[in-house]
C-alpha cells in the first residue's frame, strides 16, 4: 500500500507530468487562462488517463507481452486512446448532457495530449507497473496535472491585471511562471 501511495504522490508532485516530465505542455499553456476551464481540462485528462491505463494495461498484459511485440505499443495505444475518447464522449453525452457541455470540448483535445499517451507508455513499457501501480500512477499523474493547471490558471488570472512588459505579456510570462513553478516543485524532491 505504501508503494502505491509513493507512486501516487511521486507522480503527482515529484515527477509532476507538466513540470518535471514535460508532458501535456500544450494544455498547460493553452487552457490555463481561466481557472474553471483549467480544472475541467485537468479532470477530463485525469479521467481519460485512468481509463486508458486500464485498457492499455490489459492489452499489454494479454497481447503485447505474450506475442513479444512491445514495440507495437505506440500504434496500438494511440489507436485505443483515440477510440476511447470517442466512446467516452458519446457515453457522457448520452448520460449527462450538462457534463458533456462542460467537458465536451476538452475531450477532443485529449487525444493529442502527450500526458495520456505518456502515462500509458510509462506505466506499461518503461516501468512495467502492475495493475494497481498503474492506477496509482495514472490517478496521481492526473491529479498532479490538474493541480498545476489550477495553480497556473490562478496565476494567469492575476497576471492579466498586471502591468507586465509588452513583449512578456501572455505566453512568455507564462513560461517564466513555468520556470518558477518547476523550481518550487523541485523542493518536493525526495519527500517520499
Amino acid at each position: 500500500m505504501s508503494d502505491l501511495i509513493a507512486i501516487f504522490l511521486g507522480m503527482a508532485l515529484i515527477n509532476n507530468f507538466i513540470l518535471v516530465q514535460f508532458l501535456g505542455l500544450c494544455p498547460f499553456f493553452g487552457v490555463s487562462k481561466k481557472l474553471g476551464n483549467a480544472v475541467s481540462m485537468g479532470l477530463a485528462v485525469t479521467f481519460v488517463m485512468v481509463i486508458a491505463s486500464i485498457v492499455t494495461w490489459i492489452i499489454t498484459r494479454y497481447v503485447l507481452i505474450p506475442f513479444d511485440v512491445l514495440y507495437m505499443s505506440t500504434v496500438i495505444f494511440i489507436l485505443v486512446i483515440a477510440s476511447l475518447v470517442q466512446i467516452i464522449e458519446m457515453f457522457i453525452m448520452r448520460t449527462n448532457y450538462a457534463l458533456y457541455s462542460a467537458f465536451g470540448i476538452y475531450l477532443a483535445l485529449i487525444t493529442t495530449n502527450c500526458a495520456v499517451l505518456g502515462v500509458t507508455l510509462i506505466n506499461n513499457i518503461q516501468k512495467s507497473y502492475s495493475f494497481p501501480e498503474s492506477m496509482a500512477a495514472a490517478l496521481g499523474g492526473g491529479i498532479g496535472f490538474t493541480l498545476v493547471l489550477a495553480i497556473m490558471s490562478g496565476i494567469r488570472e492575476r497576471l492579466e491585471l498586471a502591468d507586465t512588459p509588452k513583449s512578456m505579456k501572455g505566453l512568455p510570462v507564462a513560461f517564466m511562471v513555468g520556470m518558477l513553478l518547476a523550481l518550487a516543485f523541485s523542493g518536493f524532491g525526495g519527500i517520499i
Binding site: 515527477n15 516530465q21 511485440v69 514495440y71 507495437m72 500504434v75 489507436l79 510509462i122 518503461q126 516501468k127 524532491g189 525526495g190
Partner: protein, 181 residues
Amino acid sequence: MPEALRKFTPIMFLALIVLVAITLLSLTSSITTPIVEKRIQQQVVDQMKGMFPDVVEWNEDDGLYTLFADEGKTDFLGYAFLATGSGYSSSGINILVGLEDAQTVKEIVILSQSETPGIGTRAMEPAFLDQFIGLNINDVNFIKNGGQIDGITGATISSSAIVNAVRDTAMKKVAQLEGAE
C-alpha cells in the same frame, strides 16, 4: 457494393491501415531487433572483457554470467551481471557488475543512463564508482546506513539508485548461485 457493406467501409479502411501498419512494423522490427540484441550482447561482452581482461569463455544462466579464463571453463574468473537502478530520470541506469567471487565486487560499469547532466552524472564518475572496487557486497551501502560508500551531495537519488541496484541485484544473484548449487 451493397448498402449494408458500404456502412462497413470506414471500419474496413481503418482495419486495412492497421494491418498494413502492423505488418510494416513487424518487418522493420524483424530487421532491427537482431541488431539491438547483438549490440547489447556485444556491449556486455565488451565491458566484461574490460573488467576481466583474461576472460575467454563464459556460461550464462538467467542473466548471470560465470566467467572463465580458458576454453574448458575450468579457470574460474568471476561473475558478471546487469543491474538496473531507477534514478532521477525515468529511464533507468544500466550497470554491469563484476564480482570476483560470490562476495566481493570487482568493478562496476555504467552501461547507459540519462541522469541530469551535471547533477546526476556526478554519480557516474570514477570518484564515486571506484568506491565499489573490492567491496564486500554487504558493504555496498551508504556510510550513514552502515555501509562503506560516501554519497554525493546533490545527487542522492542517482547515487542511491546505483548503490541499491548493485547491492540488491548482487544479493539476488548470489542467492541464485546458492540455489543452483
